[in-house]
Structures are given as C-alpha cells and as structure tokens.
Symmetry: C2
Subunit: 359 residues, 2 copies
Amino acid sequence: MLYEINEKALKLESEGKKIIRLNLGDPDMTTPPEIVEAAYAAMKAGKTKYSSSYGELKLRQKIAEIHGVKAENVVITPGSKWAIFSTMFLTMKNGGNVIIPTPYWTAYDLITKSIGAQSKLLKTEMETGWKVDLDALENLIDSETKMIILNNPNNPTSKVMDDKTLEGIVEIANKKDIIVLSDEVYGAIAFNKTKSILDYGSDSKHIISNGFSKTFTMTGWRIGYIVANKMFIDQVTKLNQITFNNVPVFIQEAAMKGLELHKQIAENIKAKYRQRADLASKKLSATGFKFTQPDAPFYVFPKRDGLDGEKFTLDLLDRGVAVAPGTSFGDYREHFRISLTAPDNEIETGLDKICEATQ
Amino acid sequence: MLYEINEKALKLESEGKKIIRLNLGDPDMTTPPEIVEAAYAAMKAGKTKYSSSYGELKLRQKIAEIHGVKAENVVITPGSKWAIFSTMFLTMKNGGNVIIPTPYWTAYDLITKSIGAQSKLLKTEMETGWKVDLDALENLIDSETKMIILNNPNNPTSKVMDDKTLEGIVEIANKKDIIVLSDEVYGAIAFNKTKSILDYGSDSKHIISNGFSKTFTMTGWRIGYIVANKMFIDQVTKLNQITFNNVPVFIQEAAMKGLELHKQIAENIKAKYRQRADLASKKLSATGFKFTQPDAPFYVFPKRDGLDGEKFTLDLLDRGVAVAPGTSFGDYREHFRISLTAPDNEIETGLDKICEATQ
C-alpha cells in the first residue's frame, strides 16, 4: 500500500491540495552545494565516458578505508537498491529462500518474488524491542535457505540491532553456511555507534550494501556500493557489465566529495534528525502512542492498540498528511510509519494532525 | 576477448606506452556543452530527489513523439544496456531461448547466459551482405523460442537491414508469436534513413531499445529507453522500482536538452563519421581488405582470407593500436573490428599501422 498512498498523495497535490509528505524516506534538505559543484566540475572535465564496472578506483579505495577492507572488496552500484538486487539475484537466481526479519523494507520481498526465490518472514515485535529471536531464526532455516537479510539500523523502526543478537545471527549463519546481507544504509548517520556485519570478519561470505542517498542527501543521484569478498565483488562487476555498465563517473566524483566532507555533513544530518525525533517522541507520547525511541534518522513506527493502520492512513491523507501504513512492512496493522523528512514546520503540523486524528 | 584486449591496452597505457584506441565504441568527442549545462542547472534547481521509475513524463512525451507512440509506451532506463537486460530478463527469466543473428554485440549472449536462457546463433556472412536467411531463421525457431534480437544498424558491421528482410523477420515472429527486440541504438545517426521495427505496428509485442550514448556523445551518462506496448512498459517499470529506482532527473534533463538540439548534433556526428568511414574504406581497400561499406557511424568490420584475427589483434596492440578481434562477435576468425572513435589524426595513423601489419 506504500506506493498507492504515494500515488494518491501525488494526485491530491496535482489537484491543488497541500499534502504534508511524511510517507517517504526522501529528505527535505537539498544535496550539499559542494557535491553539486564537484559533479559539474567532473562533467566539464570530460568525465562523461564509459568507465569501469567496478567503479572508480579512488572512490573504492576511500570506501575500503572507511570499512577497513581493500579496494578489491568494494564495487560501486547505482544506489543501494542495485546492491541488494544484484546480491540477491546472484545468490538465488537458481532458487532458494531468504529469511527476512520484519518489519522490513518492502523491496526485499518484491526482489525475492521477481527472481523466483521464496521469502521466509521472521516477525519481531515492538513489545520485545524488535529483537530477533535466535531460536526462531535457526528453526526457520532449511536446506534451501541461502540468505538472511538484515536492515541495521532498521526501516521502519529506526532501531539498531544489539551486539549480542547480531553476533548470534552471524554465528548461526556461519554454522549453517548461509550468507548474511546487511543493508546498512542508515548506519553512518545512526545516533550512536553501531556495529557492522564486517566487525565479525571481512574475509567471510557476509555482504554489506550501503549507499550515499541517506548520508549525503543524494537520494536521486543513485549511487551506492557493496562490500564483500573479492570473488563476490567480481561476480557483481560481471553483472554490472551487462546491465548498466557503470555509475556515471561525475556522480562518483560527487560521492567522493561527499566522503571528504563526511564528518561535517553527517553531523548536521544527525543533529537535525535527533531534534526531529525528540519532537515526534514528545508529541506521540503525550497522545498515548507506543513506540521505541529511534536510534537513527528518518522514521518512527508508532502503534496504538486496536488501530486499523490502513484506514487511519487513508483518513489522515484526507486531512492533508501522508504517512505509510504498518502493513507495508509486514504484519503490523496497528502501526504506521512517519518519515521525519519534511521541513520542520510541516513535521510539527503533521504530528499535530496525526495526534488530532486519533483523539 | 574484447574485454581482455581493452584491459591489456589500459595496462600498456599505464606503463607509459601510447595506444591508439580503436577498440571501443566510445566517441572521442565530448558531450556537447549545452547538455552539460542543462544537467548542472537541473542539479542546482534541486532535481536530485527520488523520482518516477517510468522516467520523467516530459522526456517520455518527447521520445514518444519521435517514435510516433504515446508516453505510456516509453520507459527511461540507465543506458540501452538496461533496456536490453530488463527486456530479456522479463521475457526469459523462466527459461526459453533467443535467436541472435551474428555478428552480434557480446552483451546479448552474456545476458542470455546470466538469466539462464539459451542462445541460438544465426550466422550471417559478409559475402552475402550480412543478410539474415529467413528460411534458416524460421527453421531455428522451436517451441521454447521467446525472442529474436536484432541490432539494426549492426555492431560490428555498421550494416542497416534491408526493408524486405526486416519485414520478413517481423512476419515470421508474428506467425510464431515471438517477440522481436530491436536494438536501434545506432539508428538515429545512420547515414541513410533506416526502418524501425515500429514501422511494422506500434501496438504489437515487438520492442525497441535505444539510448542517448551514441547520438549525443553521452556514453558515460547511462541513459536509454524502451518503446513497447503499455503492459510491457509497466512490467519494466516494476523491475526498475526494485533495481535502480530511477535515472537521475538531472540526467534526464540533460537528455531532454540533447533531443532539443537533436538535428544539429546528429548531423555533426553523421558528417564526422561519414568522413572517417570514407578514409577507412580508402585505406583498407588499397591494402586488399574486404568489407561492406558502413551504413552508420562507428565501426568497420574488415576481413582478410586466412587471417588469424586474434593473433593479428595482439600483434597490432604491440604496434600501439587496439582493435577488437572478430571472434568477439561470433564465428569470425578472419575479421576484426575497427572503431572510428578516436581523434582524426589517430585514426589515420591507426589505419596506416593496420595496413602495414598485414603487408
């Protein structure tokens, strides 16, 4: 229903109605001007030709440095979506199943279906802090299980996985010889230091997907990357060669500029979203919503007992506020997701309308 | 061996050796400055957000107008490669085979293997003007055949298919209920007006892939498109949603600017390449090479009886000229491909060295 809500919101806007858009993870801030200028300079310098399907060596080296690996462990992709699709395609194009803890990002399940694999959903609950039950995970694994997908920090809960659970998942995966794909696209802007799957060994079969969209407000630029063992990176590169060939070099140069300014940009984003998360927490608590405190930017995933999240979302849209129903992320009818990605005053008004709507 | 030669050429260059690069279809000219400026203006205007997986409506409308279809028949892709991959993936991910006339662009066969389908190659020969034998084509079709891929004008021969053969292929495809995927990426810059698969009905199952790379010297920008019936366009868009999401809007704006300047840019490119093709013809004829006159820019595919094209290519690389061996395009050991995509003086020197090498 995520895409339906978005289209309905767009339609209402085209009819002249003002809609406060708290339904997508596309930040209201613009891409930092230094990044735009870097892209322009690269274009003017003629960096507009075919290039390596691995990505530019300079950018791969810089990313490798950040993650404590070698450049040969990094491949550049058109967004973290392609990082995820290509990883799943290469691992499961001949069948198999993937375990996906929920709530989950809708695309994981859609990709699974598209490549003809099966999803096995593992439900986590707000009441137990969105914790993955390790026994339940192990019981779900069968001989056809090829992969476990983690989204850490998580969309829609903004929860960071605790170290012990993450360690437990890696142990189970190693024992059963299953790949963990860890989507860490919100990792660099988490409010607290979060562990990465790489902290459990970079020479393993486990894979990170990541992107520049969230950290550098570069959503529409479509640039991300995979960190994995060299053999897998080579496989992805071969797939890149026959699909999109390369991310435009001028976009890679823009991303490089982002990494140079990383500390400053990421700190600004974190500060901004922490403030927004605090505001949301205050207003939602006062109205009796239950939720876990966000550990990372962008989303809150509140619950109200007995709420029909889909109906609520549609009613709210009539009041001029778009959010995403919990059912878009799995079996979460009593939840809905608020994206704190609109201008501050709109977020404030949006939150007030959300609270009014449940009175 | 296409990619090996390229890597060897890059390696020799990195060792300080001057290599004349006639091995890739990446033009020496830079992207026209108006196109660069259009991208920059769009970036500065904040067109850096997530956008439609169909592509921008304005661009789709403009492309639709060029091809005499509706915007709903057009989807924007990251290069014509993705247009081809996505079409083949959606048509054959559950198996089947595809008929590919040779000489062919290597990627067709690599994509086929990657998605687990089968290629059936249909050889054409220089001596019969690279004509597809319609009876042979019909005989090759079996119950598992899902698609015929045409590359018109062709890479590596730069030959345009004659109307009668094209019509014959469409008739056979219609009779057998098979999709024709027509890769027309060199179509807009062919030296003479060429027929498109769309000239045989735009409401059919047949599909065009096309791109901006060759027509607008935008190889590294990665933007192309598919023209097909609405149902297929919707399927591709769903695949786009879970793979790369959208081509950056500022790149779509750049492509839009290209289309506005189409006539002028395409005429310049045609004039330049016709001149280069004439030079190549003169020199190659004088040295006794056999080849068909190019109908479109970029490539000549000469033959010499008894030539070992792979050995010749490697020897030539030692003399400082990179070309592509005929075996990269199918069973063409006596051929090699020259890309006329280097600066004029390098093309002249390169051709001289090619002629010397066969003395």
